[in-house]
């Protein structure tokens, strides 16, 4: 189950969160009230050059002190505050959502830390793996994840989602079947600019997990989707593969298709499977991934989960259900269902 929706305005014209809340809520029969979440890009223009670290704290004493220590070791906290929330009758508040706007020190870069993004990755992994009571759930620039255990409306109202304006939105309505329903397990999963919403189960998780852990990622969130964010960061950012190639690594064509390709294309796809076989994802999935460059949606290789695409001018919509897209935009055109493994890419206009 699970319901997903993604939206991009290629001109970067912002949209507030009220419509995305309505669209996600339409898919409530795809959820169980155990988790919902939203991510919006372009929401922190005043701190656009800082990393917005969203953290769940179980209490504001020990875990926060430890997180502050780590942040002060690696850079400067430009601003911090509790993420504004409104208590909801049906939503049990179990963590305090907090946000830091953080700049890493330039002089910490060197050796294995090749960029400030490596510093952020390191901080996220260290906090999530070693500090009890603290969990970084969003760490990109000018964007933020908002998620909790609850129904889509409750989570949206809790975070006052309609107050945020973004030019990319992803949202997720969760029906957990193989892992606990908890705040950290709600989607989107995020690392740096990468945010992932997912409907399905990843049967290759054990392989994918061991693969990314070899590169310093630590899977701590008890849910298979987490690994997708790390795979995109590893292949897309660290290995600098084009987005389309990342999708071809994660959901590649079958060998008999590859065998029939023209030589150069065959060589490319064979090279992708040989090099990134451990990144190949199996199982039923429909995924939408966002970054500061745009969004990409794709399904598993035999399309065991639904995905629908629609367009309207500069707007691109990807969702589990056509009806959800129509709630977002009744004028939507070119509704279609992509082929298995086909990447649907929405980029900002140059």
């Amino acid at each position: 189950m699970c319901g997903i929706i993604g939206f991009i305005d290629k001109t970067k014209s912002p949209m507030d969160g009220s419509k995305i809340k309505a669209a996600l809520s339409l898919m409530n029969e795809r959820g169980s009230g155990d988790g919902a979440g939203y991510v919006a890009y372009g929401i922190y223009p005043d701190y656009a050059d800082c990393y917005a670290l969203h953290v769940f704290f179980d209490n504001m004493v020990e875990p926060k002190t430890k997180v502050d220590e780590i942040l002060h070791r690696w850079g400067t906290v430009v601003h911090q505050e509790e993420i504004p929330t409104v208590e909801q009758p049906g939503l049990k508040r179990v963590h305090t959502p907090w946000r830091y706007f953080f700049k890493p020190f330039d002089d910490m870069i060197g050796g294995k830390v090749g960029s400030e993004k490596d510093i952020i990755k390191h901080i996220v992994m260290e906090v999530n793996a070693s500090i009890d009571g603290a969990l970084v759930f969003s760490s990109g620039k000018n964007m933020g994840v908002f998620k909790a255990s609850g129904w889509p409306e409750e989570v949206a109202d809790f975070y006052r989602i309609e107050d945020y304006e973004g030019y990319i939105w992803l949202a997720h309505n969760r029906y957990p079947t193989n892992s606990p329903g908890w705040w950290g397990g709600a989607h989107p999963f995020n690392l740096l600019d990468w945010s992932v919403v997912h409907n399905g189960e990843i049967t290759s998780y054990g392989t994918n997990q061991r693969y990314v852990e070899g590169y310093g990622y630590k899977c701590t969130l008890l849910t298979d989707t987490e690994v997708v964010a790390y795979l995109f960061d590893l292949l897309g950012r660290q290995h600098e593969l084009p987005t389309k190639t990342v999708v071809k690594a994660l959901a590649p064509p079958f060998w008999d298709e590859i065998d029939r390709m023209p030589p150069a294309e065959e060589e490319l796809h064979r090279a992708i499977r040989l090099t990134y076989g451990s990144a190949l994802m199996n199982g039923p999935f429909a995924i939408v991934v966002a970054s500061n460059e745009g969004i990409v949606g794709f399904t598993d290789r035999i399309k065991l989960r639904p995905l629908v695409v629609g367009e309207n001018g500069d707007k691109l919509y990807i969702s589990s259900e056509e009806s959800a897209i129509r709630v977002l935009d009744p004028e939507v055109k070119n509704i279609r269902t992509p082929r298995a493994g086909e990447p649907i890419i929405g980029r900002f206009n140059a």
Partner: protein
């Protein structure tokens, strides 16, 4: 005072009512258990090895074979075997030789690992109706892909792939030399390898010219004795394997008795007729990883860097560190042979007591290579006691790219695991060079049986993967999340990095 003889292990009887006195038992038993005296077939049970050839060939099902009741006073420590070994050694003063794999009664880890399957939320995949990909490439892989821009502004692949072996199934046939086994056995397996799109090892016996038509599916071996190795041999192989050690006998070399060195074996191995072929325990030009690097690169240089080079080691307690060194040696694959690996002949004390099980070895090698960031760049082949498709699937889930089978392939050709391979009298025509015995194995029929086995296991692996919701072997490899331990202790579970059943 004489020690006397030890009681026979087997008791052979003929149902005289059923027997039609045809004498096939006499013809078939190369160990001389049966003989004719006058009009009667007599039995000397002491000579029986339990190979079951007579039972299989008797047209009247008149022959029965049972393990002889124990004649010794029963004792939990001083078992029959312990006492008989002492008696044999007291008599001979020699090392006890044994064939086939470890025969001690240690519990199998494979049998205490259970595979996973999907239900409801995660659909299982039906391999009859959906594609199931078992294709596996063995060899060096890049750690990442590089792209470059062409003058026209297009992006194209800059990384050049190293040569890899393309397997249509992750089952290969391990190295058993010509000499240890017969030409017909080799031909059977070579034909089967070609038919099933996989590879077989030549062992250290060189490559007989009758196998040249199958050389595209053969992996040639360079062992410490260098028997049969010249540049022509190297160039004929699809890949080259350096054998450092073997699971049945880690730390020692090989020994092919002179009786098995027939004219053809002598020519193929490039050794004198009838001479013992003794491989030293170490390669005398390899005393460190640096030396190994030199041999790996020399072999690559000799074959113009067109062939993958594997390095095979026995599973020993520091196998992970050794494999990590091999991974950095320019080798394309590391082969780990577990303590249940088979052998034509090994000192019994080695076969049964040296080395570690393959399950723990694969898990620790896979983990170490990942920690060092080289797992993706080198292939891992597991061998040593792979008995069925479940062992195969579990090996892959623990981290192997593919497996080698040895004893299983022999059994598919008729071997009954009697463990007397070193005597050269194999009544099934497998572990022998005696032409009348060799002729008993028809290479066409043998090939069909071996290829049936590989095909059957491949089908079963497809079904196991489909049940787990997995349609490509890449997603099975190292997927320990799809395994659960049952009645394994915490320590083993930690090495395997596998959760307990129910967790």
């Amino acid at each position: 005072m004489s020690l006397g003889s030890i009681p026979p292990k087997y008791k052979v009887t003929i149902d005289r009512e059923q027997c039609m006195d045809c004498g096939r038992c006499i013809e078939n038993c190369s160990y001389g258990t049966f003989r004719r005296e006058g009009d009667k077939i007599l039995i000397q049970s002491r000579k029986c090895t339990g190979c079951l050839r007579c039972v299989s060939m008797c047209p009247r099902d008149a022959i029965s074979l049972t393990e002889n009741p124990v004649d010794y006073r029963s004792h939990p420590l001083w078992t029959r075997e312990a006492r008989e070994d002492i008696i044999k050694q007291a008599r001979s003063g020699k090392i006890i030789l044994a064939g086939m794999g470890n025969a001690s009664n240690l519990p199998s880890i494979f049998d205490r690992l259970l595979l996973d399957a999907c239900q409801v939320t995660n659909p299982s995949i039906d391999p009859l109706r959906e594609p199931m990909e078992l294709r596996t490439y063995i060899g060096k892989k890049p750690s990442k892909l590089e792209f470059k821009k062409t003058e026209a502004g297009d992006v194209e692949l800059a990384t050049k792939l190293a040569p890899n072996l393309k397997l249509e199934t992750p089952i290969m046939i391990g190295h058993m030399s010509y000499g240890a086994i017969s030409l017909n056995a080799h031909l059977s397996m070579a034909k089967a390898a070609k038919e099933t799109g996989t590879f077989m090892g030549t062992g250290e016996g060189g490559l007989h010219r009758e196998l040249y038509p199958y050389q595209g599916n053969m992996i040639v071996q360079v062992a410490s004795g260098r028997f049969g190795v010249n540049v022509d041999y190297l160039e004929r192989g699809a890949a080259i394997e350096i054998k450092i050690g073997q699971g049945a006998k880690p730390g020692i070399g090989g020994h092919l008795p002179g009786e098995k060195v027939s004219a053809e074996v002598s020519r193929t191995r490039m050794i004198p007729l009838g001479s013992d072929a003794i491989s030293p325990a170490p390669h005398h030009d390899i005393y460190s990883i640096e030396d190994l690097v030199q041999l790996v690169r020399s072999l690559k240089e000799a074959t113009e860097w067109k062939k993958p080079v594997f390095v095979k080691i026995a599973a020993v307690h520091n196998v992970a560190a050794i494999a990590a060194g091999i991974a950095r040696s320019s080798a394309d694959a590391v082969v780990i042979d577990g303590s249940r690996g088979g052998t034509g002949a090994a000192p019994k004390v080695f076969r049964d007591h040296v080395g570690i099980p393959i399950e723990g070895a694969i898990a620790s090698v896979d983990q170490k290579l990942r920690e060092q960031g080289t797992r993706n760049e080198v292939s891992v082949i597991a061998s040593g006691g792979i008995r069925n498709s479940a062992d195969l699937a579990k090996s892959i889930a623990l981290g192997a790219d593919a497996v080698y089978i040895g004893t299983a392939a022999l059994i598919s050709m008729g071997c009954r695991v009697c463990g007397n391979c070193y005597r050269g009298l194999c009544p099934w025509g497998i572990a022998t060079q005696r032409q009348d015995l060799v002729d008993r194995l028809d290479p066409e029929q043998g090939a069909r049986q071996v290829s049936n086995l590989i095909h059957a296991w491949t089908l079963e692996l497809s079904e196991l993967m489909g049940a787990a919701g997995i349609n490509s072997i890449e997603s099975m490899r190292g997927n320990r999340d799809r395994l659960r331990g049952y009645m394994l202790d915490e320590g083993i579970l930690e090495v395997l990095d596998v959760k307990n059943a129910g967790a």
